[in-house]
C-alpha cells in the first residue's frame, strides 16, 4: 500500500462509523427540517420550505425562543456559581497545613463518580419528592406544609440547578485544585513579605495565575451545561410523570417536539438551529482561547 492511502485506510473504520452515526443523522435531520413530517405525515412528508424555521424563530408562542432564553440563563447562572464556588473551595482546600486535604477531596468527588441518571433520580425521589422527600420531612419537623418542589416553574428551575451544580462541582474543583498546585509558592511568599492579605493573594495571584489553565475546562463545561438534557428531563419532563413545570431547555424542547408531540419536521428545524448556535459558540470560544483567553 502506498504512503498516501495508508492513513485513510487506517482511519476508514472510524470515519465510516462516524459517517453512519453522526453525519447521517445530521443530514437526515437537515432534510426533515424542511418537511412537515408529523404523526399524520409519517410516510408521505411534504417539503414545506422554511416554514418550520419561521415558526421557531418568529412565533414567540411556539416556545423555542423562551426555551433558548431559559437555556442561556441556565448556562450563565450555572457557570457563574460553579466557577465562583469551586474557586473558593479549591483555595480553602489548599490552605497551608490542611492534613486531611486528600480525604476531603475524595469525598467531594463522589457526585462526579456516580452515574448521572442515578444521582438525578436519587435527588428527585429522595430529596424533592412531595410525599416522602427529605426536604418536606424537614419542613414537617418545623410544622410547615409540604411543598411540591418540582411543580412550579421557578422552584423546579432552582431544584434542577442545585442538582446540576452538585454534579458539576467536583470536576471544576479538581481542575482548579490542580491549577492552584501548579502555582509557584514563591509568589505567595513575596506577597506576604509585601504585606498582602488572604483576599489580595486570592485576587491578585491565584485567580490570574489559574485563569489560563482552567479556561479550556470552563469552556468545555459551558458546552456540557448548554447541552444538558438529563437533569431537566429526569427531574421534570419524564414521559408519564411530568411534574407540570415548564422549564424546557432547547434540548428537552426539541426532544419533546419529536417524541411526545410527534412534530418531527419542527423538532428537526429546532435541532439544526441548536447545531448552528453551538457551532457559532465553538468558533467564538476557539478564537477567544487563541487570542485573549490564554493571555
Amino acid at each position: 500500500m502506498n504512503k498516501k492511502s495508508r492513513p485513510w485506510f487506517y482511519s476508514f473504520p472510524a470515519l465510516a462509523v462516524i459517517s453512519l452515526i453522526i453525519l447521517f443523522p445530521i443530514l437526515y435531520t437537515g432534510y426533515l427540517s424542511f418537511t412537515n413530517m408529523n404523526i399524520y405525515h409519517w410516510f408521505n412528508p411534504g417539503i414545506i420550505g422554511f416554514e418550520n424555521y419561521r415558526k421557531a424563530l418568529f412565533v414567540f408562542d411556539s416556545g423555542f425562543l423562551p426555551a433558548l432564553l431559559r437555556t442561556i440563563l441556565w448556562t450563565v447562572l450555572n457557570m457563574a456559581i460553579q466557577v465562583a464556588v469551586s474557586f473558593l473551595i479549591s483555595v480553602l482546600l489548599n490552605s497551608e497545613g490542611l492534613v486531611l486535604k486528600n480525604f476531603y477531596k475524595t469525598l467531594l468527588m463522589f457526585p462526579w463518580a456516580m452515574p448521572a441518571y442515578v444521582s438525578i433520580l436519587l435527588w428527585r425521589l429522595g430529596i424533592f419528592n412531595s410525599q416522602f422527600g427529605l426536604l418536606n420531612h424537614w419542613l414537617s419537623l418545623l410544622k410547615i406544609e409540604p411543598v411540591n418542589w418540582l411543580n412550579g416553574n421557578l422552584s423546579a428551575f432552582l431544584c434542577c440547578m442545585v442538582v446540576n451544580l452538585w454534579m458539576a462541582f467536583p470536576f471544576m474543583i479538581l481542575t482548579m485544585d490542580g491549577a492552584i498546585q501548579s502555582i509557584d509558592k514563591s509568589y505567595y511568599e513575596s506577597a506576604v513579605l509585601e504585606g498582602a492579605g488572604t483576599f489580595t493573594k486570592m485576587t491578585k495571584i491565584t485567580y490570574p495565575m489559574i485563569r489560563p489553565i482552567i479556561m479550556p475546562a470552563v469552556i468545555l463545561t459551558t458546552f456540557v451545561t448548554f447541552k444538558q438534557f438529563d437533569t431537566v428531563y429526569l427531574m421534570t419532563q419524564q414521559v408519564g410523570s411530568k411534574t407540570g413545570a415548564d422549564i424546557h431547555t432547547v434540548i428537552t424542547y426539541a426532544y419533546e417536539k419529536a417524541f411526545i408531540t410527534s412534530n418531527y419536521g419542527y423538532s428537526a428545524a429546532i435541532s439544526i438551529l441548536i447545531f448552528i448556535i453551538i457551532i457559532a459558540l465553538t468558533v467564538i470560544s476557539k478564537k477567544y482561547i487563541r487570542e485573549g483567553g490564554a493571555q
Binding site: Y117, W123, F132, F275, T282
Partner: protein, 281 residues
C-alpha cells in the same frame, strides 16, 4: 513567614469544620439513599432521616438481586459495555495513530470537520438513528446499540488518543522502522504500551458512557429482557416509584458501585490520560 500560631490554628480548625460540613452536606443524597436501602420499608416514613437505619435489614438488596431482573440487566450491561469498548478501541486507535503520525492531504480539514460534527448533541440524532437502525433490522438488538454507542464516542476517543500520541516521541518508531518493523508491529509493540494511560482512560470513559446511558437503551430496545441496568432502573422508578423507593435506592446504589470503584481506581490516571480536558456527559 511570621504568623501568629494561635490564630493560624483557629483558622485551620474552622477550615476543617467547613470541609466536614461540606462533605456531609454534599453526600446527603447518597447517604440518605444508603440509609433508606438498609431500612425496613415501614419504618422509612416513621423515622425519617437518619444516617443509621433504625430497623436494619438486607431485604431490599435481596429483593433487588433475586426477585428483580437485576442480574439479567447487569449481564446485559456488561456484555454491551465489553463489546462497545473493544470495538471502539479497535476503530479509534488506528485512526488516532493515522492522524497523529501521518501528514496527508485532507488531514486538517477532516480534523476540523470532526470538531464541527461533535457539536451536534447526540440526543437530537435519536429519530434519524431509529429510522436507520429500523431499516437495517437492528432495532431491539445489541448490534444496533453497540454501533450507536461506538459511533457516539469515536470522535472523542480519536481526539483524546491522538492528543496523547502527539506527545510520544516519534524517534523510537523511526528506529523500529529502520529495523524493518511494519505499522502494525509498531502500533502493538511501541505505541500501545507507551500510550497505556490514554488507552485505559478512553476505554473507561466509553464503558461509563454505555453503563450510564438510559435514553438510547429505552428507545432502541423494546424487550425488557434485553434492558441494561440504566434502562431497567429508569423503568423501575417510572412505574413503581412511590411504593418502592427503598428498593429503587438499593438497586441504583448497586448499579453505581462498579462505576464508583472503576472511577476511583483510574482517578490518578485521569490527569495524564485525558488530553482534551475531562469530559463527562
Amino acid at each position: 513567614m511570621i504568623q501568629n500560631p494561635r490564630k493560624r490554628r483557629i483558622r485551620l480548625a474552622f477550615t476543617n469544620l467547613f470541609f466536614i460540613f461540606l462533605c456531609i452536606a454534599g453526600l446527603i443524597p447518597i447517604l440518605y439513599a444508603l440509609s433508606v436501602s438498609f431500612n425496613s420499608s415501614n419504618s422509612v416514613f416513621a423515622t425519617g432521616f437518619s444516617l443509621i437505619p433504625s430497623d436494619f435489614t438486607l431485604d431490599h438488596y435481596k429483593n433487588v438481586i433475586f426477585s428483580q431482573p437485576f442480574l439479567l440487566w447487569l449481564k446485559n450491561t456488561m456484555l454491551l459495555a465489553f463489546f462497545t469498548v473493544i470495538i471502539s478501541l479497535a476503530v479509534a486507535v488506528p485512526a488516532a495513530y493515522a492522524f497523529s503520525r501521518f501528514r496527508f492531504r485532507g488531514r486538517k480539514t477532516t480534523i476540523y470537520l470532526l470538531l464541527l460534527l461533535n457539536a451536534f448533541p447526540s440526543i437530537l440524532s435519536m429519530l434519524a438513528l431509529y429510522r436507520l437502525l429500523h431499516s437495517m433490522g437492528l432495532i431491539n438488538t445489541y448490534t444496533g446499540l453497540i454501533i450507536v454507542y461506538t459511533g457516539g464516542m469515536t470522535i472523542f476517543s480519536l481526539w483524546n488518543m491522538k492528543g496523547y500520541f502527539d506527545t510520544i516521541s516519534i524517534d523510537i518508531e523511526h528506529a523500529a522502522q529502520i529495523d524493518g518493523a511494519n505499522d502494525f508491529q509498531i502500533i502493538c509493540r511501541i505505541v500501545l504500551p507507551l500510550a497505556k494511560p490514554t488507552i485505559i482512560v478512553t476505554a473507561v470513559l466509553v464503558l461509563i458512557n454505555v453503563w450510564n446511558d438510559y435514553i438510547f437503551a429505552i428507545n432502541f430496545l423494546s424487550a425488557a429482557g434485553k434492558y441494561t441496568l440504566a434502562a431497567g432502573l429508569y423503568t423501575l422508578q417510572a412505574t413503581e416509584q412511590t411504593r418502592n423507593w427503598p428498593l429503587f435506592s438499593a438497586a441504583s446504589l448497586l448499579a453505581s458501585l462498579p462505576i464508583l470503584i472503576i472511577f476511583f481506581i483510574i482517578q490518578k490516571q485521569m490527569k495524564s490520560g485525558l488530553t482534551s480536558g475531562g469530559v463527562k456527559e
